[in-house]
Amino acid sequence: MKLRRIASYGPAFVLAFALLLIWELYVQAGSIDQLILPAPSTIGSALLDNSSTILDHTLQTLEETILGLAIATVLGVLFTILMDFSSWIRKAVYPLLIISQTIPIIALAPLLLIWFGFGITPKIIVVVLYCFFPITVACADGLLSTDKDLYRLLRSMDANRWQILWMLRLPAALPSFFSGLRIAATYSVTAAIFGEFVGAEKGLGIYIEMATNAHAIRLVFAAIVVTALLSLLLFGCISLIEWLALPWYHLSAVKTLQEYHAEKTQP
């Protein structure tokens, strides 16, 4: 069963492998300077040679990512609920949230450093800042999509607004929420790396920076590979949690067209 699950990702591996091969050949053929785009094999061996250092930096980044993402999730949901509370608050707060997404790190960094120093806090703030927004937007849109019949039913029972939120609108918004969370999770690792650019002693961002400044492009790419793997991992975790958390949803929703096809041609 489990083997089968993994085997079903075969195509992903085949495609990834094919792309890596093309890339390798492209670089090996000398079409591009290895100092601009190193070959996968170069990256791979760089990764292996420096694995313990990279691991050390990775753990730091992972910690920032997970803490940041967790806080962003809580904050995103809180914002959603807050904005849902009244359209006044919504109209007042939403623009501010949007604006918060447009502040470049270059303006924020000195402030963060001065207010919070070089510890883990500013990195977490950056992750939160980058990740709460997709959660808020998706979750807020999810809340708006509540089924009217169910809503009226609860109103007829004189459920108060919190009960309606808790019993109806939040559960109904969960699929949207997970959508947003998936987007946020994908961004979170990159956000942590960004946060490290603000100033840090350790972390993949610092590693990338050091490698760039030392013109060790293969190590930059090695770190990117790790970043990509972390992002994939987080994305996968979120999808798994969704699968476990929403059994009812998978019952009442249609899967991909593929499934439709499978159903049609089933033996």
Binding site: L35, I114, M210
Partner: protein, 327 residues
Amino acid sequence: NTNDTATTQTTAGSKTSNQKLTPFKVALDFTPNPNHTGIYTALAKGWYKQQGIDVSILPFSQNAFPDVLVASGKADVGISGTESIVLDDASNQNVVSIATITQHNTSYLVTRADALINSPKDLDGKIYGSYGAPYEIPIMSKVIQHAGGKGKFRTITLGTDAISALRSKQIDFAWVFNLDIVGAEHQGLQLKKFAVTDYGVPDYYSPTIVTSKDEIQKNSDLLKRFMQATTQGYEFAKDHPDEAAQLLINTAPKGTFPDNKLVIASQESLSPLYTDGTQKWGFQSDAAWNGYLNFILPTGSVQDQKGKVVEAKNLPASALYTNQFIQ
């Protein structure tokens, strides 16, 4: 049980020695590199401790200038450069240079070695890869004009480093430190280099060690002790480049230097430049500062907080540096 006592002892031991040490923060202008060797050497050799200072080197921030950290008191000293200090003063940021790391300017206009360019005058109409700083264009123009060109070229502002843009042949020339050239050549990119000081640009100081006026007022003694150890460090690095490079490698955060050979090569190229034999390490002259001010201010590229061009009379060199910490 034995373990237990051992740990207690060490903590107790370090505590007592810590109590005497004054914490001191240093903000770097870049990831650790041979410009910083003196500081790392002093750190590694324990010379700061001897002075009763507990130096910690702040992580490099891509997004916050050391000037800002120093001015806001988040760092005691930082690494900066003449160009930046002048801009700081123009915008009322109180930053003072207290030592120059190299006695002479080590920046170069570079082109690819395989480009058909023999003199900066051939660069008219070519593409310059800029960092986006206001003083670059006057300096590059000066170099080209000095070589007989018009000094008119196209400017592309890069977010990435100029070396890789040169490598990808997307720009024709850039302005870099000698260290960058050593790095590029180490990786097989041959460059043609023109020292800007050979082309009419005054020989000003970059990089330098900076602090704030407040710090000088409040912690003059501390700064003196810091500079004493630092001087010791740079003197050592000047005399023992390989050993100092090794100390830099060992002391800087793990992973800073993927290629030790490059560090040693860079250090070997830089060590001789720390002093020129005529002055103590770190000494700054009025002439160098005025040279830059007299060059840059007339170009109008230095503006104050209101956006007004700063004139020479409002910006005396004496306000920008001090030699009081040079022994």
